[in-house]
């Protein structure tokens, strides 16, 4: 896709939230294919071992300076999906920015964790390895067609501590105070990735964004309700519109006894959440949200926030 094909309405929104001098760089970054990356599954191998074995096969790798288990693939003609390391579940091909939300979740071995929108399982398997395959993850995916991919990935990476469920995510309001931690990597309007993909780029529109925002708000309410007192909720999206990010978090801040916690990814060029957008009154805590802008961080666009339930 060319930068001139990015929808005008979308760009108008961006001009409200980014300085003018950054717009051209942002547009280029938005349509560029991302650098290929993968995560090492520490249940099966160490980063050192995987690096050595893949480099011996000709892959050129750079370890992420902000995440021990993450690697960028700089060049090689072959597909990572056809390597022995992939077959053995030692690696998971995953976008770099998609590795971010599990890091501040700080999953521990004996916890009960809900992954509210789990398929295809990149983050569920990442949580599973952080928990050393102990405790409990409920990996929820309402779309039956996507469950098979989730199950295949859990099996390949050897994740045992997971129960796959197929509820509408809003169901979890009926399980109050049940989980130590909840990850809601919400189904979103995909603005961070969709303009790179010819097949889905035409889906974007204001109604798609507003519809996604409504669902995200409902799901985040369910996520907070299902979390125990003093528990953690990570809310994330791979989209850019404030309607699906800061404004969703702003609404729940008014309705629940919660606070936002600061998150720092050392080595990632991260930005604060927006505290000014149109005429909305935005809580000052929203500054603690994290925005990843693709033209600054050189990874996919992302938004996340860490919420503590009081």
């Amino acid at each position: 896709m060319q930068t001139q094909e990015i929808p005008k309405l979308f760009l108008e929104k961006i001009t409200e939230i980014l300085p003018e001098k950054e717009i051209e760089d942002f547009k280029k970054a938005l349509v560029e294919p991302p650098l290929k990356s993968f995560r090492v599954n520490s249940l099966r191998a160490s980063p050192k071992e995987v690096k050595e074995s893949l480099e011996a096969k000709g892959f050129k790798l750079t370890q992420m300076n902000w995440y021990t288990y993450g690697f960028f693939v700089n060049s090689f003609g072959a597909s990572l999906g056809n390597t022995l390391e992939h077959f053995l579940g030692k690696i998971y091909v995953q976008d770099a920015s998609s590795m971010l939300p599990v890091i501040p979740l700080e999953a521990e071995e004996d916890e009960s964790i809900l992954d509210l929108a789990a398929a295809p399982g990149s983050k569920t398997t990442q949580i599973g390895m952080d928990m050393k395959n102990q405790g409990l993850i409920i990996a929820n995916e309402p779309n039956q067609k996507r469950i098979q991919a989730l199950q295949d990935n859990l099996e390949r990476l050897g994740i045992i501590n997971t129960v796959i469920t197929r509820n509408d995510g809003r169901y979890f309001r009926k399980m109050p105070d049940a989980f130590d931690k909840v990850l809601l990597d919400a189904p979103c309007s995909l603005e961070g990735t969709m303009f790179k993909d010819e097949k889905i780029k035409h889906r974007w529109g204001p109604n798609f964004v507003s519809g996604s925002a409504k669902l995200e708000y409902e799901l985040l309410k369910a996520a907070i309700t299902a979390t125990k007192s003093k528990g953690t909720i990570i809310y994330s999206t791979c989209t850019i519109s404030p309607e699906e990010n800061e404004l969703v978090v702003n609404k729940v801040l008014k309705e629940f006894d919660i606070e936002l916690k600061p998150v720092e990814f050392r080595g990632v060029n991260q930005s604060n959440g927006l505290t000014k957008y149109k005429d909305f009154e935005i809580d000052k805590q929203i500054k603690r949200c994290v925005r990843i802008w693709p033209h600054k961080a050189k990874i996919g666009a992302f938004f996340l926030t860490k919420i503590m339930k009081k």
């Binding site: 011996a56 022995l84 053995l88 009960s112 102990q134 039956q144 045992i160 796959i164 197929r166």
Partner: protein, 178 residues
């Protein structure tokens, strides 16, 4: 999560057909432990902290904590699977450990191991059977490549029949070496 769990009951499959599940009791667990020990030399202590659940024709393994989710079935939690499929037909003569299960627990195996040659690895990962020149006892073998557990195979006369799930076959191997 609530601390109670349900030892047996039903949860529906994707077609909404109710399938019975049951947490294994000690006697049934012993049958499984004896099989894994006698067939592969995997000691029962390898399964400390895990729970076996029989569901339909298959046996699944999960953490003990995972079974707490069963208590929520009656309040509408739609469980698809718990843990990882470990054995098929666990109480029949034709019981079979799955590749995914063996890739985890096969590292502790001491018996019925078969070292695959580098030249045979790619065809095996593509789904082909192994043709044997030597005589091997019939039955299930854990296929190893060096220290790596590749998966399960079943030795029948002069070949090892491939047991890797089709969804995991490697289709386009284009690396010079493995």
């Amino acid at each position: 999560m609530a601390t109670q769990s349900e030892d047996r009951g039903f949860f529906p499959d994707k077609n909404n057909e109710k399938i019975e599940y049951k947490l294994l009791g000690k006697k049934e667990e012993l049958v499984i432990f004896n099989y894994l020990d006698s067939q592969f030399g995997i000691p029962s202590k390898a399964f400390n902290g895990y729970e076996f659940i029989k569901r339909g024709k298959d046996l699944w393994i999960s953490t003990k904590k995972s079974t707490q989710a069963l208590a929520f079935i009656n309040s509408g939690l739609k469980i698809n699977t718990i843990g990882l499929r470990a054995l098929r037909n666990p109480f029949d003569d034709n019981k079979k450990a799955t590749t995914n299960f063996i890739q985890i627990f096969g590292k502790q195996a001491t018996k019925n191991l078969y070292q695959i040659k580098e030249s045979d690895l790619l065809p095996y990962l593509r789904g082909e059977d192994l043709v044997l020149k030597e005589n091997l006892e019939r039955g299930y073998k854990i296929i190893k490549f060096g220290d790596e557990i590749v998966g399960m195979g079943i030795c029948l006369d002069n070949r090892i029949k491939n047991q890797i799930p089709k969804s995991r076959f490697i289709k386009n191997w284009n690396l010079k070496s493995i």
